[in-house]
């Protein structure tokens, strides 16, 4: 049977994949996608906990409300982030992170 830890492990692997992607990839857009993946992995954890934490015969909907908020924030974040990427592309003609090293000490 499927247990809670099954879901948690899937979520953990997805999160690790996202993190690895963020570290390994150079394309900012893909880094962004990996971030979204990490957020979704966190969502999966939340939903799993929501379902396994039965409250008066029902799933714990507070966790799902949190997921809802996460998704909303992520949507806003994507919109702003992509706008920034477009602005970046306009000035650098590139979306590689190597081209954005102005903060270099």
């Amino acid at each position: 049977m499927i247990t809670l830890s099954h879901y948690l492990i899937v979520s953990g692997i997805l999160f690790a994949l996202g993190l690895a992607g963020v570290v390994a990839r150079r394309n900012i857009i893909i880094i962004y996608m990996c971030l979204e993946m990490m957020l979704s992995a966190a969502n999966l954890t939340l939903v799993a906990f929501s379902r396994f934490h039965v409250l008066a015969g029902l799933p714990d909907y507070s966790a799902q409300a949190l997921v809802f908020f996460t998704i909303t924030v992520a949507a806003a974040e994507v919109a702003v982030g992509l706008a920034i990427i477009v602005a970046l592309y306009r000035s650098k003609q590139s979306v590689e992170v190597e081209s954005v090293t102005k903060l270099q000490g």
């Binding site: 390994a24 990839r25 190597e98 270099q104």
Partner: protein
């Protein structure tokens, strides 16, 4: 002496103080709206103030609180009035001359563009001066002292488009600042010595029996310095040597202003304050001696300078300086007399008496000169006038009365009596100063005769003088009133009103009277003989004409001192500010920064890697390590 008839509440002095202020405020804020009405407003407020001061003449001595100002714990400063004989009399002088100057200005400034601004400033000046006169403590006096400085700055610089006027107002203000600085130090010293009480009554009590009494015994130098600090204020405001340089230049302002500031009020404020604080000076004889000598020196020097001036207003300005020197000398002399001879000081003070008589005739002279200048189409050089006796009879008569009074024509002029009382004190307290006073009196007679002869007698030297006609009635009226006051002030019955001003002098020594009459006769006859019918100055003494080169000397001193000081300060700054405060931390920060810059490669992935590694570490610690440690 009439007994005080009525009780004084705080309302009359408050009204007296606030009315000009509100007027000034209204004019300042609403001048666009009010336009000509603001002139009427200003004059009305001056008139009301005059009426109030007349009402106050009958008031009883009191110290009403006008407004609470600052209260921090025990420390409190209030605007509290001190109504006594001195302030009542001074108030009368200030408001009466103020009102007359207002009226005179109505004619004199008729066509001026900044008329509204001028009247606003006048109201502000009246407010400040009222504050000084009413002040019951040194803080309040200092506040209004500064306000007087401000309003005189505004008035002298009324024609600020003229570079010389702009320079003059700046000079007056800066010079006053030096004096004010000393004044503030003096106040603070007294503040410290008297445990935070600087009200006049409190100080007086302190000197009689209190902390200050002990201080005068134990710390003589401290008290001398405090007295000199207070005196510094008077030096600035009353234009005593060495800060006298601003007063002649201040003649750049409109003539009514000269009359108001340099005859009756602002310069008198210094003397007024000295008399108020006379107990401070009396407590330290050294300071009294210095004050007396500075006064005498100023009187003599200014009289010498006045003999070679050609500008009618400048002659009067130097004569003012000279008379102020007289007054200051009187303060010092009386203090010497009180402290050395343990002569009990009476209610009246010779300096105040001279101030009071001088105020009237000097205001009249200034306004008269204003009328002359107005008639001669703003011509101020006396050598371009002449023969004005026929053209301006009223002015001539009033001017003659004023001149006589200033010279001290015996028995019939007020100036004679006040000068007599000062010389009398001098004769008793300090002989050298007495002779200086006599010399000054002689010089006064000389230069006044000179000016009078050149201006009014002989023939007109220029077209404008030829076509001069009597000034309009609004300008002549104040002259007549002032002349009447000048003459009246010799009469005992009139003097009763201003009892405080009249010194209860002892019988004068005959030497004094003989010496002063002789000085008058010698001075005026030499002047008359020398200048009658002349078209140019027979004497030509560069030293006097150039005012002893004071301005030039100051310029050099300031330049040299400033450069040296700047050199030292620059060196200090390089060493401390640049070196220790700025460069050293910058160097340290730079080293640390270049050590830390390895961490910030600007590579997003490296940052993320570090972040991820940190998260891993935290999880490891929280989940695996901490439970084992028993958390």
């Amino acid at each position: 002496m009439t007994p005080p008839a009525q009780d004084t509440t705080a309302s009359l002095p408050t009204l007296l103080l606030m009315l000009p202020f509100l007027t000034a405020l209204t004019i300042l804020l609403g001048h666009k709206l009010l336009k000509g009405a603001s002139v009427v407003l200003s004059i009305a407020s001056a008139a009301i103030c005059f009426v109030i001061s007349l009402m106050l003449l009958d008031a009883r001595d009191s110290a009403p609180m006008l407004l609470p100002f600052i209260e921090i714990g025990k420390f409190r400063i209030g605007l509290d009035a001190m109504i006594d004989q001195q302030s009542r009399g001074m108030m009368f002088i200030v408001t009466s001359i103020g009102l007359l100057v207002h009226l005179f200005s109505l004619g004199y400034m008729k066509e001026d563009e900044g008329k509204v601004r001028f009247f606003g400033s006048l109201s502000l000046f009246m407010f400040s001066m009222t504050g000084i006169v009413l002040a019951g403590n040194l803080f309040m006096m200092f506040i209004f002292w500064e306000l007087v400085g401000l309003s005189s700055y505004l008035l002298i610089g009324h024609w600020f488009e003229k570079p010389s006027a702009a320079e003059a107002c700046k000079k007056a203000f800066l010079t006053n600042r030096i004096g004010d600085f000393g004044f503030m130090i003096g106040i603070l010293m007294l503040f410290m010595a008297n445990h935070g009480d600087v009200s006049f009554s409190g100080l007086k009590g302190g000197f009689a029996e209190g902390p200050l009494h002990e201080m005068t015994q134990t710390h003589t130098l401290f008290m001398t310095l405090a007295a000199l600090g207070i005196f510094m204020g008077a030096v600035g405001k009353s234009a005593q040597f060495p800060l006298h340089v601003w007063l002649p230049d201040a003649m750049e302002g409109p003539t009514p202003v000269s009359a108001l500031i340099h005859a009756a009020t602002m310069v008198a404020a210094g003397v007024f304050m000295l008399v108020r604080c006379s107990f401070v000076i009396e407590a330290s004889p050294d300071a009294a001696t210095i004050i007396a000598w500075i006064g005498g020196l100023t009187a003599l020097m200014a009289a010498l300078m006045a003999t070679q001036q050609n500008d009618i207003k400048r002659v009067l300005a130097y004569s003012t300086l000279s008379q102020l020197g007289y007054m200051v000398m009187a303060v010092g002399l009386l203090a010497i007399q009180v402290s050395v001879n343990h002569h009990e000081a009476g209610p009246g003070h010779p300096a105040m008496f001279h101030l009071y008589t001088h105020a009237f005739f000097k205001a009249m002279l200034f306004l008269g000169s204003g009328a002359i200048i107005y008639a001669c189409h703003h011509e101020q050089d006396i050598w371009k006038m002449g023969g004005l006796m026929k053209h301006m009879p009223v002015t001539f008569v009033t001017f003659a009365i004023g001149t006589a009074s200033l010279m001290g024509v015996p028995f019939i002029t007020s100036g004679f009596w006040s000068k007599e009382s000062i010389l009398g004190v001098g004769f008793e307290a300090c002989r050298p100063l007495f002779w200086i006073g006599v010399a000054t009196a002689m010089l006064t007679a000389f230069y006044m005769t000179r000016m009078f002869v050149i201006t009014f007698l002989g023939k007109p030297r220029t077209e404008s003088a030829h076509h001069a006609i009597e000034a309009p009635i609004i300008m002549v009226l104040p002259l007549v009133v002032l002349a009447a006051l000048t003459v009246l002030s010799t009469f005992e019955s009139f003097n009763r009103l201003l009892a405080a001003m009249i010194p209860n002098h002892a019988e004068d020594h005959p030497t004094v009277m003989i010496a002063s009459i002789a000085a008058l006769i010698i001075g005026s006859s030499v002047g008359f003989l020398l200048y009658r019918g002349k078209n140019s100055d027979p004497l030509n003494i560069k030293l006097f004409a150039n005012k002893f080169y004071f301005d030039e000397i100051y310029a050099v001193i300031v330049k040299v001192l400033q450069d040296q000081l700047a050199w030292i300060v620059n060196g200090l700054e390089r060493m401390f500010v640049d070196g220790i405060v700025a460069r050293l931390p910058a160097f340290i920060a730079m080293r640390i920064g270049s050590a830390a810059r390895i961490l910030t490669g600007g590579h997003l992935q490296a940052y993320t890697f570090l972040l991820g590694a940190g998260v891993l570490m935290v999880i490891y610690l929280v989940v695996f390590v901490l439970p084992q440690l028993g958390h």
